[in-house]
């Protein structure tokens, strides 16, 4: 043992110092583990809250209708689509429509698939098979062109020679207030403009064909600008028909009934004049 070792050997940590330190460590350890536990609880609570809020927001976004597609023959069915163009609700707007709507489950379906499913429904097919039946789609959406293109590519649309028009959001609400689908509401407005006395209820249960005929029979309806587009500034009405069967001017229309049937959009009426 050298002299430094000998001199320093008596220098030792006093028992009291060691005991104090051990006690201090005990308190610190308890505090740390308590803090860690609290932190874990808070972190878990925060994470749960974030997930919950995100879930609520997503659910809100998912279940908010942003687009409407109204499908009118005699049965009137309207599809409500969310931001992701999936069906979140489908409502019948007359007795036939309700009967069909009740028998289908379209929830969460992409709208093109929903359209085809709807048009393949046996009741719907029966209605479409009737002579002169009119299949009218009315789209109300910010991405109207995209949806219209989607609808026009549907098998049912091509098969049954559908037509597609568009409507503004306000029109949708007005139509719903009267218990009508968008498509019917457009014709209802035109009939009113043309001076035909018809109630929304009557409108509900006539076929589109009958409504079109009624419109045609009214003298003022054959006059260029449609009532709907002139009376309602929110309506951006334009008939975009993918089928050839409605235009007499292209030479192979199957009867005047079909050809002039829906001269209630700006486009079609000006095209025929």
């Amino acid at each position: 043992m050298n002299r430094i070792q000998k001199a320093f050997s008596p220098v030792q940590a006093e028992t009291e110092l060691k005991e104090k330190t051990v006690e201090f460590l005990h308190i610190q350890a308890a505090r740390k583990s308590g803090a860690a536990k609290r932190f874990r609880v808070y972190a878990a609570a925060c994470a749960a809250l974030v997930v919950l809020v995100a879930g609520i927001i997503f659910y809100g976004v998912y279940t908010t209708p942003v687009s409407y597609i109204s499908i009118d023959v005699n049965p009137s069915v309207e599809l409500e689509l969310n931001l992701f163009d999936r069906v979140i609700a489908w409502n019948g707007y007359n007795d036939d429509g309700e009967a069909i709507a009740q028998g289908l489950d379209l929830y969460n379906m992409p709208y093109t698939q929903a359209v085809d499913t709807l048009l393949q429904d046996s009741q719907m097919e029966q209605c479409l098979a009737k002579e002169g039946a009119q299949l009218v789609f009315t789209v109300s959406s910010d991405k109207e062109e995209e949806l219209t293109a989607g609808i026009e590519s549907c098998q049912g649309y091509i098969l049954h020679h559908g037509t597609c028009t568009s409507a503004g959001t306000e029109e949708v609400h007005e139509a719903h207030e009267l218990g009508l689908s968008m498509g019917r509401y457009r014709v209802y407005l035109e009939l009113q403009q043309a001076g035909v006395e018809i109630t929304p209820e009557e409108c509900q249960n006539l076929t589109m064909r009958e409504l079109m005929d009624l419109l045609e029979e009214t003298p003022s309806s054959s006059n260029g600008e449609s009532a709907a587009s002139s009376s309602d500034s929110t309506a951006s009405s334009s008939t975009m028909s993918g089928s050839s069967h409605h235009g007499e001017e292209n030479g192979h229309g199957n009867g005047t009934g079909n050809g002039d049937g829906y001269q209630w959009g700006k486009h079609s009426s000006s095209g025929h004049e």
Binding site: R3, F8, Q12, A13, L17, K18, V22, L25, H26, A29
Partner: protein
């Protein structure tokens, strides 16, 4: 974080060494107690495992020396050590003389001298612990040894 048991065991094993390192630098009891607690709290909170006992001991030396320096750096402290402490700590006059001589060395020399002569570390090991070059430690040891020789006579080792 280590367990409380591990920290208590470290207090038992390394408490004396930490106390001696404190004596080298600190003047009063309160500072010693603060440093003592700080060092073992750091040990308790130290996450990484130690590779060996030597590693653990070296880690504690470094933490203690740094903790002492931190105390001395604080505004109201004086860096001188209490020489009365030598009287308190050692019974024999000869030992008190050696203690006094070591405590009066400049701080860097004290660490090197203590670690070399008491704990038996080589200059290279001291360099690693204190994060200094080996040659620097040699210089400190040589100068410290020279001062002690002058104070205590040629045969002090």
């Amino acid at each position: 974080m280590k367990t409380e048991e591990e920290a208590t065991r470290a207090v038992e094993i390394y408490g004396d060494m930490v106390r001696r390192l404190c004596v080298l630098h600190l003047k009063n009891r309160q500072d010693t107690e603060d440093v003592f607690q700080t060092v073992f709290l750091k040990y308790l909170l130290h996450d990484a495992p130690f590779a060996s006992k030597e590693h653990e001991k070296a880690w504690l030396v470094r933490v203690t020396v740094n903790a002492c320096r931190d105390v001395l750096r604080s505004f109201f402290r004086k860096s001188s050590v209490s020489l009365e402490l030598a009287e308190e700590l050692s019974a024999e006059e000869e030992d008190r003389e050696v203690l006094r001589a070591v405590l009066e060395l400049p701080p860097k020399y004290k660490d090197a001298v203590y670690l070399h002569y008491y704990e038996g570390y080589s200059a290279a090991e001291i360099g690693k612990i204190l994060q200094k070059k080996e040659n620097t430690v040699y210089t400190w040891l040589a100068r410290g040894r020279e001062i002690l020789r002058q104070r205590l006579g040629g045969d002090w080792e």
